[in-house]
Symmetry: C2
Subunit: 325 residues, 2 copies
């Protein structure tokens, strides 16, 4: 039987870019698609942003392609990451030929811890005045991320990786994170160095080429990868993979873009690049490479959507990608 | 009696840039200086990075000028911020004419909460596997920051401010922070809007002019202001003021720069600009404006230290600033 791919368009431009990526998937392989609903519209209709059927589908499908959700994003995407058992969010951030970028030499991959930190945080309103959030860092999650990082750099021929952290302030928690990831690198003979997350924010602007693969706690990965998006020209081109042991969830880093939703001019590139990561997760590296090179070709000399200064529609860009496959 | 200024050079280039700023202070006003030690060298000599005398001096002086500390930075600067009763760290980040900047149009001021968040965090190693940090956000600290922000924008003629937060994930804590600061703005008729801190990281790179005064929780302010430093050409030009009710602590945002320490070529601009904020805190706005305009003049057409592509020494740049006062 063909692999099952759960398809969750969500809200806003998710409803435009996900169908584009599904067409690309149909063109490169034999997949069984199963659609499910989530997001603001679903919340309005059903009272739940993430219905149990959608959660269960993501938890059982071989892979899930997700678009974006509006106000309810956290209630949708965080449980979905858990549904697929994801422990790392892989976020490549690179500039593309032909696309305006503040730092065209940027070529980074963030490996973001995907289960804990403040995201696992238990929050309390202790008194009228005082609220607390308990941030959790475990050795086991840090080690699993460290193992993944070592395998990732070995498979892809990177020199090593950098651990971004704030262990000078969060000594116990980020200290445990940093030391555990470094120990895993040491054990496997992988080069690893460290950088304070605040220093990273300055240094990546000044000279992004000094970094390659960056391993981060959850919130640090969220913010620093969005910073990198700013250096490569915006969120419109960034794909991501929420990787678990058995399955994954693939989503553009961008949101629902309410200002252009429904107009048929959303840039489908980030979602199509997420589909490339999806087919690779299913073992089809060849299809992944074909999709990526088609998108790169279109970005460099094909039709462009308005966010990249062009006048093309989602349909035209998708057709151009399909034509290059 | 003249105001008392505590002077703590610290380590590395702190020992070069602080004396430069003291010369500038001597040139614009009548101050009584009291020196004290802190940092890595002090730790080696005395077993304490921040001796009680130094803490007490900062806690009683009218203002403190601090340079930088090495590995022991967190053990020095965090208690010193507390010693002066600082509740907000004011971090202007702007580009200067004549200085290479990734985004020359950047002109931001971060108002960073300076007492809590993860910095007030109690940490625990619960088991071999599990560590936690309890992040604290109070309504009272958020309100005090909100009041300060309202006064700051009113005094300086800003349109309003933006609250950066991550309340979609840290609902209770960052929600309390955001809502309290917004309520204070509403109460005082100050315009305020909000942005997710991750979205801020992307958007400030793409178009820094959409932001002005940015009000942040502690760690968000740390990272986002360092990001802004990257947009204006590095940490070498960023001053900061740790403001308390009675007194303040003024420090460059940069560190000890061990690679160039002792060579006499450190850029004193950030520390001299911190001295401008210091004299303003003592009520001498005129001296503050004179210092700032002298530094701007030198940056635009005076001698430059190597970090700005020149060959001048700290001495030469300081003399050029003194000559323009
Ligand atoms: C919507 C939000 C909960 C989410 C996150 O913080 O992880 C988003 O910012 C992202 O990075 O995918
Ligand atoms: C040294 C460190 C504790 C400090 C901080 O995190 O506040 C520094 O990064 C800063 O921003 O002044």
């Amino acid at each position: 039987a063909p692999p099952e791919i759960a398809v969750i368009e969500g809200d806003g431009i998710g409803r435009e870019v996900v169908p584009a990526a599904v067409e690309v998937l149909e063109a490169v392989g034999d997949y069984a698609f199963a659609e499910a609903e989530a997001g603001d519209a679903t919340l309005d209709e059903t009272g739940e942003a993430l219905p149990a059927e959608t959660y269960d589908l993501a938890a059982s499908a071989d892979a899930t392609l997700f678009g974006a959700a509006g106000e309810s994003a956290a209630d949708v995407i965080l449980p979905l990451r858990e549904a697929v058992g994801s422990f790392v969010n892989v976020r490549p951030a690179r500039a593309y030929l032909g696309v305006d970028a503040l730092r065209p030499e940027t070529d980074l991959v963030f490996l973001r811890e995907n289960t804990e930190g403040v995201y696992a945080g238990h929050e309390d309103r202790l008194t009228d005045n005082v609220s607390t959030l308990t941030r959790v860092v475990t050795e086991s999650a840090s080690r699993r991320l460290g193992e993944f990082a070592c395998e990732y750099v070995a498979e892809r021929g990177h020199d090593g990786f950098t651990v971004a952290h704030k262990a000078n302030v969060m000594r116990e928690t980020d200290g445990l994170f940093r030391d555990t990831v470094l120990a895993e690198a040491e054990r496997r003979g992988v080069d690893a160095d460290t950088v304070l997350m605040d220093a990273f924010a300055t240094r990546v602007c000044l000279d992004p080429e000094q970094f390659g693969v960056v391993v981060c706690p959850n919130l640090a990965g969220d913010v620093l990868s969005d910073l990198a998006a700013g250096l490569v020209g915006g969120l419109g081109l960034l794909p991501s993979a929420n990787v678990g042991e058995e399955r994954g969830l693939f989503e553009p880093v961008h949101g629902t873009a309410p200002d252009i939703a429904g107009k048929g001019v959303a840039n489908p590139s980030a979602t199509i690049l997420s589909a490339a990561m999806l087919v690779e997760s299913l073992g089809d590296d060849d299809a992944g490479a074909r999709i990526r090179s088609a998108v790169e070709g279109v970005l460099s000399d094909g039709p462009r959507t308005p966010d990249l200064g062009g006048e093309a529609t989602t349909r035209e860009v998708t057709d151009a990608v399909l034509a290059r496959l």
